[in-house]
Amino acid sequence: MSTNPAVGTSGAAALEARAYRSVGLGRRLREFIEREWVFSWLILTPPLLFLLCFLGYPFFYGVYLSFFRREVAGSPTFVGFGNFVTLASDPIFWQSVGNTIKFTAAATVLKATGGLGMALVMNQNFRMKAITRALLLLPFIVPTVLSTVAWQWIYDPGLGLFNRLLVESGLATKGVSWLGNPTMAMISIIIVNTWRGLPFFGISILAGLQTIPVELHESATIDGASTWGRFRYVTLPSLLPVIFIVTTFSIILTFFDFQLVYVLTGGGPANSTHLMATYAYSLSVGVGQMGLGSAVALSMVPVLGLLLVLLTLYVRKD
């Protein structure tokens, strides 16, 4: 510390000036950050980088691969649209496209209706409501591979829960072959997907339900609306935006489903449960044709792109 008052004065002034400059700099930085476009980009940059690394890179690499004949450990040969031409004449590819559409449509309808029902029940007041809500999330939380192994047991022809219930209750004399028959195998994977995806719908719609003002229901009741009338003209219209968004997301997730089919049926019997995702995997990893497998995966993009456009338009309109 300086003992000279003169020096001390000038030192204090310098310090003060530095502090002023530093405050000024800090303020200017804060003002810069607080500008809307700067702040937006600051917030957006980390997730964008994340998406670019973990979604963008694999996606564009997949697009690149789909134009090449590229085998595992081999060098790529440009084939243009050759892989897509090959797929156009591949009956298994078309079967997997059909299976994916059936699977996605059936599972989404079941999840949407079931989820709505689940949300309506969960919106009522009853004892242990909180714990019931938490338990309903279990299918969504348990890793798919683990829960699918449990479903293998549930579908077991002799010891499985479903067949035991059917036979013990007298509803059937012998159990159903859940995974040994093409139709039943498709139904079985739809059931598992629905079971797993129901909580996503239920919880999202429940959140939507809780935003509907009570006054609307009260007014409708005073006007003489029945329970069904209140649901039809108050609840459902208010929920439509939530249902639309959740359904769109669910379609995308269901369209890409892979794990449960891979574990439960491997795409069999006789390709009857092969989805586009399992077929793309089978071609890329099993057969080692990375280009062809990528072409299958890329074939899913137009459908999903269309859904994304619809979703964006809807959100903008809203």
């Binding site: 085998e71 595992v72 450990a73 081999g74 090959t86 004449s89 591949d90 009956p91 298994i92 293998q152 077991d156 022809p157 002799g158 010891l159 072959s177 859940w178 995974l179 040994g180 028959n181 093409p182 195998a185 049926t265 491997g266 795409g267 069999g268 019997p269 006789a270 390709n271 089978s282 990893v285 099993g286 057969v287 080692g288 044709q289």
Partner: protein
């Protein structure tokens, strides 16, 4: 004043100076690197159904190798049941992960494997020679790309007590007798469970031998011409359809590899085609059942021949590893009888060596019911047989072309249609 050009340090001089400095600083490190032995070798292998086999490797072989060479072996056990191939493909694509491995479906990535002819030839010479059939897999363009370790035998696994009850004292010798036996057993509530789904062993291990025993192969020897389109194929398809409808549990058409084990161990089926892992599990967990399990050879077909499908275990060294030679040295060491024989014995001969010197070793007498698995080597063929085991064959296997030909027929499709569909696919695949 103009400065002389020579005295001005240019960019090139700077680079030279930097390179020189780097060389001086880096020289000791480079020298160390050249001299240094690797400290660890990563060996990836699918887990064995016989627990002792992996335990022997970990507790006896790894410490012994470390003691002898100072090199540690990092044994990466891959989960059984189909996850090994994706992991191997991923390793090859990323050029990382393991120095050597059980190279399942090696036709997918042979280019990434080093030549191990020196090891395979020396081991063959010292051990009575290799079974010829395995050379069709391990030798590519005249070079050994993998060293065969052993075969996992696949046979008919059946409940002796139930066969006895149905009056069948000997395991059927022909496919027709097998059908008759199945009809009797199904009538008594004990159906067969012959896997026909999208698995990787238990389906091929009886459907391919059955096809061969009807005198049919999928491709010709050169792998150029589709050989499946014959009247004998139609007979084989008709036979399998009948076998499925009259003897089998309905579910088996969609079974993956673990499903028949589960069905057998829960007494839902009386016979299936499998490795002897079912007996291993039964002896461990269900001793009563363990006593009544027997193994039968695949029946003979109309051509009077009996066949089995090989499920090979081969070890290969990845070319991209930091020290392929060190990995090769380790592989050579494992094949030395001093190590190899106790290792094989620890697995109760679940892994049958492709070396003739091991044909008559007393270890085969560990359990009389295991002995038939040695017969698999005598009549065993690769699923590509007689064609080369190449990428095209891998495509046939991984797209279940032949398996689905049979399963579609069992689901009601006409014989001609299923054969025509399979032939079309084969022509596309083989070009």
């Amino acid at each position: 004043m103009k400065r002389p050009v020579q005295s001005r340090p240019g960019r090139r001089d700077f680079l030279k100076l930097t390179a020189g400095a780097a060389a001086i600083v880096g020289a000791p490190w480079i020298a160390r690197k050249v001299e240094a032995k690797p400290t660890t070798i990563v060996f990836a292998r699918e887990s064995s159904y016989v627990k002792n086999f992996d335990e022997h490797f970990i507790k006896v072989m790894i410490p012994a190798y470390q003691k002898a060479t100072g090199i540690k072996i990092d044994y990466q056990i891959q989960a059984a049941g189909g996850s090994a191939v994706p992991q191997l493909v991923s390793m090859v694509e990323n050029k990382s992960g393991a120095d050597l491995a059980w190279v399942q479906q090696e036709w997918l990535y042979r280019d990434a494997l080093v030549d191990v002819s020196d090891i395979a030839e020396a081991v063959g010479k010292e051990n009575g020679g290799w079974y010829d059939e395995i050379k069709l897999l391990s030798v590519d363009n005249g070079k050994w790309k993998s060293v065969p370790q052993a075969n996992i035998g696949q046979l008919m696994v059946y409940r002796k007590d139930w066969f006895d009850e149905a009056g069948i004292k000997q395991f059927p010798e022909t496919w027709d007798e097998f059908l008759e036996a199945g009809i009797k057993l199904k009538a008594k509530g004990h159906p067969f469970g012959m896997s026909m789904g999208h698995g990787f062993a238990d389906n091929y291990s009886w459907l391919y031998p059955l096809l061969w025993s009807y005198g049919v192969t999928v491709m010709d020897k050169a792998g150029k011409k589709v050989a499946l389109d014959t009247s004998e194929t139609a007979k084989a398809v008709d036979y399998v359809r009948r076998l499925y409808k009259e003897t089998c549990i309905e579910d088996c058409i969609g079974w993956l590899d673990p499903h028949n084990n589960k069905a057998f161990l829960t007494s839902q089926i009386s016979c299936t085609n499998n490795a002897y892992s079912i007996m291993v599990s039964a002896k461990r967990d269900l001793p009563e059942m363990g006593k009544v399990i027997e193994h039968g050879l695949n029946p003979k077909g109309p051509n009077g021949q009996r066949y089995h499908a090989l499920v090979p275990v081969t070890h290969g060294v990845f070319a991209y590893g930091p020290e392929p030679q060190a990995a090769k040295d380790f592989l050579r060491w494992t094949m030395d009888p001093k190590q190899f024989r106790p290792w094989i014995a620890s697995g109760d001969m679940y892994f049958a060596p492709y070396l003739h010197a091991y044909d008559k070793i007393p270890e085969w007498d560990i359990e009389p019911r295991v002995k038939p698995y040695h017969k698999v080597l005598e009549t065993g063929k690769l699923t590509s047989w007689p064609a080369p085991a190449n990428r095209a064959h891998g495509t046939v296997i991984n797209r279940w072309v032949v398996i689905d030909m049979f399963s579609k027929a069992c689901l009601g499709a006409p014989t001609k249609t299923v054969i025509a569909e399979a032939v079309t696919q084969l022509k596309q695949i083989y070009g």
